[in-house]
């Protein structure tokens, strides 16, 4: 058993025993070896169920919005990206810091099948900042690929570069191939820790954004463009959207592309680390004008 899991179980048991929290939200081993699933522990003796490993990808913070978690004191396990998501939710008044006990864990990098997630390779915030959490557990086994400096955005999201080099028609065909597989199961949206609207626009009947477009392709384009926009500057780079997609659509490329453009023209911004407002919530005169006389339009 790794050091973090051991310490985690210990802390969880103590918190429950002392009555500091009503429940601990963490991970436990799933049915398969290469799978960890969310788990709620309410009794000190069950704390031994909790684990933390390189398959504990799921961002847990969004559970806190659910009805069953209201009015309860919760301890929650957070990786670096999860903590960013938590911070963003906090900044966006979705939840308060007071009733939540944060257990920060050092992330060893998450697996996408055999490989490490490109998000993790690029990540320079694997461990939450000490002052942002109540307990911080470190000492993860860091795989070799992640021991050096994190990769640049360009070097980890190579698919974006590849797509950018294609012709427009090739790109269109690529996305057509990808998006035509979309079943609009909304798993990407549900897994995303920053998709936190009370009612998603795509769940609203009036105006009915989806039903109007009966053509599959047009609908998918609509959905994914809008989703990429809603996430863009608020993305905490956990990579869950792409990982959970049952059709394996690389839809993280869309919001990462937007993020890259935002960084290029308006300076780097990391949601959940840097202070709000996010880049799209403010604009000023000094920013580049693409649509003036010499602009690309």
């Amino acid at each position: 058993m790794c050091k973090i899991t051991e310490e985690l179980q210990q802390i969880a048991a103590e918190l429950l025993k002392e009555g500091k929290v009503d429940l601990v939200l963490g991970y436990t081993k799933g049915e398969q070896e290469e799978q960890s699933v969310p788990c709620i522990v309410t009794q000190p003796e069950d704390a031994s169920k909790l684990i933390f490993d390189e398959y504990s990808e799921k961002a847990l913070s969004k559970y806190l919005l659910e009805e069953s978690f209201q009015d309860k004191k919760v301890a929650i396990v957070l990786k670096g990206c999860d903590q960013r998501a938590f911070k963003l939710m906090q900044d966006e008044s979705r939840l308060g810091r007071e009733d939540v006990y944060l257990i920060g864990v050092e992330c060893p990098g998450m697996k996408w099948g055999e490989d490490l997630s490109p998000f993790c390779l690029h990540c320079d915030y694997r461990t939450p900042a000490k002052e942002d959490v109540d307990s911080l557990l470190t000492g993860a086994d860091i795989p070799e690929a992640m021991q050096g400096e994190p990769l640049d955005h360009e070097d980890s999201f190579t698919d974006i570069n590849r797509l950018e080099k294609m012709s427009k028609e090739e790109r269109f065909e690529f996305w057509k191939r990808q998006l035509n597989r979309c079943k609009r199961c909304y798993t990407c949206r549900n897994a995303c820790p920053v998709c936190t609207c009370r009612v998603c626009v795509f769940d609203r009947e009036n105006p009915d954004y989806i039903d109007r477009a009966k053509d599959q392709m047009a609908q998918h384009q609509f959905y994914h463009v809008i989703r990429a926009f809603h996430v863009s500057d608020r993305c905490v780079s956990c990579g869950e959207c792409a990982r959970v997609c049952p059709e394996g659509i690389p839809l993280h490329l869309l919001n990462q592309k937007l993020l890259r453009e935002l960084d290029k023209f308006y300076g780097e911004y990391q949601a959940g680390i840097d202070e709000v407002p996010t880049p799209l919530s403010h604009a000023n005169a000094d920013e580049p004008d693409f649509f003036g006389k010499e602009g690309k339009a």
Partner: protein, 658 residues
């Protein structure tokens, strides 16, 4: 829902290019349209009564007009709706004249387009919501921030109109920079002689309350209803008891550099800012007070005949409500030490214009005598360097400080008058004399002997002679050669800059600053004293460099704006404001920084869910402030934010019909 569609011929203006009957016929087939008519002139009385009669006869609740631009006659039709007891936002106008009949040449195509445009308007009207303008009462009391000449003028004007004014000043006396000046251009009026009566008038005016030695702590609210907290710093002198006899000042043993004289004299730790200070009661500068530094001394307390000294006095927080705020915070002068080539700060005989101003002032540190700080002798040859830090992108401010040309001309004139055997040399880039009688004033300066050399000085250095004089290296554009002058005194026309705290204040007031840090007016030409925040007005140099008459007229302008607001007694917002669907809003407040009017704030609502009452945050619109731009609605992810008259549903309906 019963919709009536009216198509205007506009005489031949529309009819010649659009088949109006066909338009009426085509739109008449749309759902909910119960009546259509084409009319020769809809805006005429006949046309208006046609619409009115149709409303009565067919019980129409919505009206769609196909006519000229809504920018032309929207209000005409809205008023008609009002008269008919319908909400004015139940009328929708399709622009088939400016956007159709006038710009096209093919009647068939133009008719198709006109049908589209009217259909679009009908579709939009399906989702029309009734709108009302919010009006709120105005608190008829003004706050003027800054007690310089602009602030004083604004306060006096408002007070004379019969409204109470609070005048806030951070120093211990009102008067501002003008109190430091000797004479004013172009008339050479003595600055104190024209300022002091105004100061006294402000202090004694029944409608003006002075808050000196005070700063703005916090502002909330909006036009007509600002809630302001003022921090009155502890003066350690009980205002009620103090008679201003000055005994404490005389006896105080602590001497420090006098900022008012730019360090060319000393003042005591307990002091009045200057002789004619208003209010003329001393304040204790705790940083330099021996009692506060060591716990020993207490001379002032012992000597005070009325026992007015109170070492335990604390800062006071004063809270007040105002309807309008006038910002007249003025400026600072740049300390030109960073311009190494001028040797300022390294040689005592390189001084700034304000230092010279104090020297020339009869009530200044030298009682109007000129002297060289290095040896106390009278300077014979004085070199003025213009644009020292202004119009300098490299190491200063890129803008023009505007007043230096004239005050330097004034200095040369004053020097020539008082000390006829001094020589003045002025190095300049341009001389700008835009202003009434300014050119004549500049001419007079040249006439009287000032030598104007066109060229910037590149270096001032000590000459190294026994007199410790300076060598000024410049260029004379007229002769076209490098020119050196041995000078006894070098005077730098330093750059005017916004106050250090300008940005913080802007944040508190919700107003914006330009790239140079001066406050931005709402419109460069037509709203020069307003800001983007309604009810906050700008007077004086805080908005940009300007001279006294300009600052005073701007101040009176702000006063007029405040008085208009107070006379009207209420603020009426626009009806087409943002609206929040609280059911959808999660209170993420991404919309808040987008709003240019600070009209969005967070509010807690109570909601019953699962049998429990729970508080949760939502965005809330102040409809008096919101101007209805919709930038927030364009950003809102959940669609909780919408704009009346241009709701997401309405715009979608328009898009969908096309």
């Amino acid at each position: 829902m019963k919709i009536g569609v009216f198509i205007c011929w506009c005489g031949s203006n529309i009819k010649n290019m659009v088949d109006v009957e066909r338009v009426a016929e085509a739109t008449g087939k749309m759902p909910h349209v119960v009546y259509t008519q084409d009319v020769q002139y809809l805006c005429s009385e006949v046309g208006q009564s046609d619409i009115g009669n149709a409303i009565d006869e067919h019980q129409l609740d919505r009206v769609v007009i196909g006519a000229c631009s809504p920018r032309m006659h929207e209000t005409t039709f809205q008023q008609l709706m009002n008269r008919k007891g319908l909400n004015p936002y139940y009328v929708e106008i399709a622009n088939i004249r400016e956007h159709c009949s006038w710009v096209h040449t093919d009647k068939a195509k133009a008719t198709v387009k006109a049908i589209d445009l009217v259909k679009k308007a009908v579709a939009k009207s399906y989702y029309a919501v009734p709108l009302h303008a919010e009006s709120l009462p105005v608190n008829k009391r003004a706050l003027v921030i800054g007690g310089g000449i602009a602030g004083i003028q604004a306060a006096l004007d408002i007070a004379d109109a019969g409204y109470p004014v609070d005048l806030l000043e951070k120093e211990s006396s009102i008067g501002g920079k003008m109190a430091q000046f000797d004479k004013t251009f172009p008339t050479l009026d003595c600055s104190a002689c024209i300022l002091t009566p105004k100061m006294v008038e402000a202090a004694t005016h029944e409608n003006i309350t002075l808050h000196t030695y005070s700063e703005l702590e916090d502002v909330s609210g909006y036009v007509g209803n600002f809630h302001v907290t003022i921090r009155k710093r502890a003066t350690s002198v009980d205002e009620e008891r103090c008679t201003g006899c000055g005994e404490c000042v005389t006896k105080c043993p602590a001497k420090v550099d006098n900022e008012f004289d730019q360090g060319h004299s000393k003042r005591k730790a307990i002091y009045t800012l200057f002789a004619q200070a208003v209010p003329n009661k001393p304040v204790l500068d705790r940083k330099n007070c021996i009692y506060f530094k060591t716990g020993k001394c207490g001379v002032c307390k012992k000597i005070c005949p009325t026992d007015a000294i109170n070492y335990e006095m604390e800062d006071q927080l004063i809270e007040n409500d105002y309807g309008a705020i006038i910002v007249a915070t003025g400026f600072e002068l740049n300390e030109p030490t960073h311009l190494g080539e001028y040797h300022y700060g390294h040689h005592p005989d390189v001084i700034t214009s304000l230092e010279l101003e104090r020297m020339l002032n009869a009530s200044g540190p030298t009682q109007g005598k000129m002297y060289r700080p290095s040896n106390g002798k009278e300077p014979k040859r004085i070199v003025f360097i213009q644009c020292a830090g202004s119009r300098d992108r490299h190491d200063g401010n890129s803008y023009c400080s505007k007043v230096c040309c004239l005050y330097t001309a004034k200095h040369t004139i004053l020097l020539n008058e008082k000390f006829p055997d001094t020589e003045s040399y002025v190095f300049y880039i341009d001389v700008r004399t835009a202003g009434k009688n300014y050119e004549e004033f500049y001419e007079r300066a040249r006439q009287m002997g000032a030598n104007y050399l066109r060229g910037h000085v590149s270096k001032v250095e000590p000459l190294g002679d026994s007199d410790n004089r300076l060598l000024v290296r410049g260029y004379d554009g007229s002769l076209g050669e490098q020119t050196e002058i041995e000078a006894d005194l070098v005077v730098l026309a330093t750059s005017i800059e916004p106050q250090q705290g300008a940005k913080k204040l802007a944040g508190m007031l919700g107003i914006s600053s330009d790239r140079n840090g001066f406050y931005s007016e709402a419109h460069a030409k037509l709203k020069p004293v307003e800001t983007q925040t309604q009810g906050v007005y700008l007077a004086g140099v805080c908005q940009g460099p300007k001279d006294i008459p300009e600052a005073v007229s701007q101040a009176s302008g702000t006063a007029a704006k405040a008085i208009v607001l107070f006379n009207r007694g209420q603020v009426k917002g626009v009806p087409t404001t943002a609206m929040v669907d609280e059911e959808l809003c999660s209170g993420c407040m991404q919309c808040k920084p987008v709003c240019p009017y600070e009209a969005i704030s967070q509010e807690m609502i109570t909601e019953r869910a699962h049998g429990k009452a729970r508080q949760r945050p939502v965005a809330s619109i102040n409809r008096a402030l919101c101007q209805g731009c919709g930038a927030c609605a364009g950003l809102c992810r959940s669609g909780a934010m919408d704009i009346g008259g241009f709701t997401g549903r309405q715009l979608l309906a328009e898009v969908d019909t096309l």
